[in-house]
């Protein structure tokens, strides 16, 4: 069977070779890179611009953006027909293609985030390595851990005040470089779509900017969501342990910090959300006003076939509802939780409407294609380009984050541990 035939239904006049070739994984790809870029921008707000209130969130979002990073590549690998050749993007990059930049930009960005993490957590690596070295009777696990942490120190054991100060400076510089690179990483994902002149819906110079804005929105929302979940777990643990030890922070104290942090972050979320919506509406209005040749088919898709996806799910549930939830005075954690879930859903729907919506009409401008997401994985193709594959991609960053939390003191309250 031809790739794409399985989930494409054609209506009216569609060319024989046209199918929905870019399916769910290409929806996941800008969604995931958006989360990476957004999480990083959030952490940089603290590191570069010194927004002190975001300190807890910043540490956490940096680690989270690193956990998201390998996942940004996953959907691409899953959608390639020849994934074993994926490395060629690094071997023979053809820079006239927006995708060729992927290997370079992605690795540059990954290395920046990794270096920044190294500087932030270097003291922890050194301490752990040294304490393991001092340990008299090491079991095999300790030995492995010792080797691992010694390697992580890269041989730099100097943790004097002056050295640590230098680390701080380095973090600031890296975070500063990281912002444009993160925006570029995601902006060019927008460019991949925006520069396809054959596709009437995609082709707009606004696409990269829209992508960056919604990326920041989704990244902040995901960080808030995870932060809330983690804090709730913490509160739960504290309440359980309260009886045995008295010098732990109380659950009320945690809640106070949490609410403060959430309220401030929510303000940034709102700002970027409004910006993203304005740009998207501008694009829509502009298309309707200029009404070039392709507008007839686009209109029938936007206001007809995809009306529910675009106006109810994306703009209604994904943008309008959270706006109301966040703008309503006296934001509570529960309301913020509901709000960020809607925001994340809205951004996902925006990616969906761009990627799938852009392929839902024919190059003849006289036919439509309908996408049916494969739910039950019957074979490898329906697994990787179906619901299962998408869920796998969505779940991976949380597993990675959990692993990183085993290595790094992400939620440590001990401010001495970190800068």
């Amino acid at each position: 069977m031809v790739h794409g035939e399985l989930w494409t239904v054609k209506e009216l006049f569609v060319l024989p070779n046209e199918y929905i070739y870019w399916s769910i994984q290409i929806v996941m790809y800008p969604f995931m890179t958006g989360l990476v870029a957004g999480a990083f921008v959030l952490s940089s707000l603290y590191h570069v611009f010194g927004i002190k209130q975001l300190k807890n969130m910043a540490r956490f979002s940096l680690v989270f953006s690193f956990a998201l990073l390998p996942v940004a590549m996953m959907p691409l690998m899953l959608h390639l027909q020849q994934p074993q050749r994926g490395i060629e993007v690094l071997m023979t990059p053809h820079f006239t293609s927006a995708i060729a930049a992927f290997g370079i930009v992605f690795s540059t960005y990954g290395l920046i985030v990794a270096s920044e993490l190294w500087f932030v957590y270097r003291k922890h690596f050194v301490k752990t390595a040294l304490s393991l070295r001092r340990k008299a009777d090491k079991n095999p696990l300790d030995q492995v851990k010792h080797l691992f942490f010694s390697a992580l120190t890269l041989g730099a054991y100097d943790v004097s005040g002056a050295a640590l100060h230098q680390d701080e400076k380095a973090v600031k510089i890296l975070a500063g470089i990281g912002i444009p690179v993160a925006c570029f990483l995601h902006g060019y994902a927008g460019f991949i779509f925006g520069s396809v002149k054959a596709n009437a819906l995609w082709m707009t110079p606004l696409m990269p900017v829209i992508f960056i804005m919604s990326a920041v929105v989704s990244g902040i929302a995901l960080c808030m969501l995870t932060y809330i979940v983690v804090m709730e777990i913490k509160k739960f643990n504290v309440r359980r342990a309260q009886s045995s030890s008295s010098n732990l922070p109380t659950s009320e104290a945690i809640k106070g910090i949490e609410l403060n942090e959430i309220r401030i972050t929510a303000r940034y979320l709102l700002f970027f959300l409004l910006f993203a919506i304005s740009l998207e509406l501008l694009d829509l209005i502009f298309r309707g006003y200029t009404a070039v040749k392709t507008w007839d088919i686009l209109r029938s898709v936007i206001y007809g076939k995809d009306f529910t996806d675009i106006f109810i799910l994306q703009y209604g549930v994904g943008n309008l509802l959270p706006l109301i939830l966040f703008l309503w005075p006296r934001l509570t954690i529960r309301r913020a939780l509901v709000g960020v879930i809607f925001v994340l859903f809205g951004v996902f729907m925006m990616r969906w409407n761009v990627v799938i919506g852009g392929q839902s009409f024919s190059l003849t401008f006289a036919g439509y294609m309908h996408y049916h997401l494969p739910i039950i994985p019957r074979n490898w193709e329906t697994f990787k380009e179906g619901l299962a594959g998408a869920l796998m991609v969505a779940a991976t960053p949380f597993i990675l984050f959990w692993l990183f939390c085993k290595i790094l003191p992400v939620f440590s309250q001990d401010s001495e541990e970190l800068h």
């Binding site: 053809h94 006239t96 690795s107 290395l111 890269l154 680390d167």
Partner: protein, 157 residues
């Protein structure tokens, strides 16, 4: 800055060197920029030869069949002369060695490709004589009555 600050950079340089080394071994030697420049000519040269040496299946040579099948060339005096033998008899490939015998397509649908009447103005289709396949001897191969090599209705009698 103190030396330790550059440690991650050294790690990065090691990585880049690794990739470049891998590139040296992985990229075919004939990969380069050819006639149409970097934008359109960036490719593996030997890929052109792959297509140049692709196997030819159809000869579509009017004289190819004549040596053995000269008697069939009466078709050249009929309106069907414009149709190459292989359109109905299948691709020659290496016939007569491989395959020994070609499989001729005798289905009604083959004839209907042209002879289903569609009176489309501005299209050559309107000028071809046709039959309604639903009423015209359904189920019977056209060649049962008509000789495709001598298609004129006058010749039927």
């Amino acid at each position: 800055m103190k030396g330790h600050v550059w440690r991650p950079l050294y790690a990065v340089i090691c990585l880049v060197v690794l990739v470049l080394a891998a590139r040296y071994f992985m990229v075919p030697k004939d990969f380069g920029i050819y006639e149409r420049g970097y934008m359109y000519g960036f490719h593996r040269k030997s890929a052109e030869d792959y297509w140049k040496t692709f196997k030819v299946k159809y000869q579509f040579n009017t004289d190819y069949c004549r040596d053995c099948h000269a008697e069939k060339y009466s078709i050249m005096q009929t309106p069907h002369a414009i149709i190459h033998c292989e359109n109905c008899h299948g691709p020659v490939l290496d016939h007569p060695t491989d395959p020994e015998k070609l499989s001729v397509d005798k289905k009604r649908e083959l004839c209907l490709r042209c002879h289903l009447p569609l009176s489309y103005p501005t299209s050559g289709r309107a000028n071809i004589r046709g039959v309604d396949p639903i009423t015209h001897n359904p189920g019977i191969e056209c060649s049962a009555c008509h000789n495709p090599h001598m298609p004129s209705l006058e010749a039927m009698k």
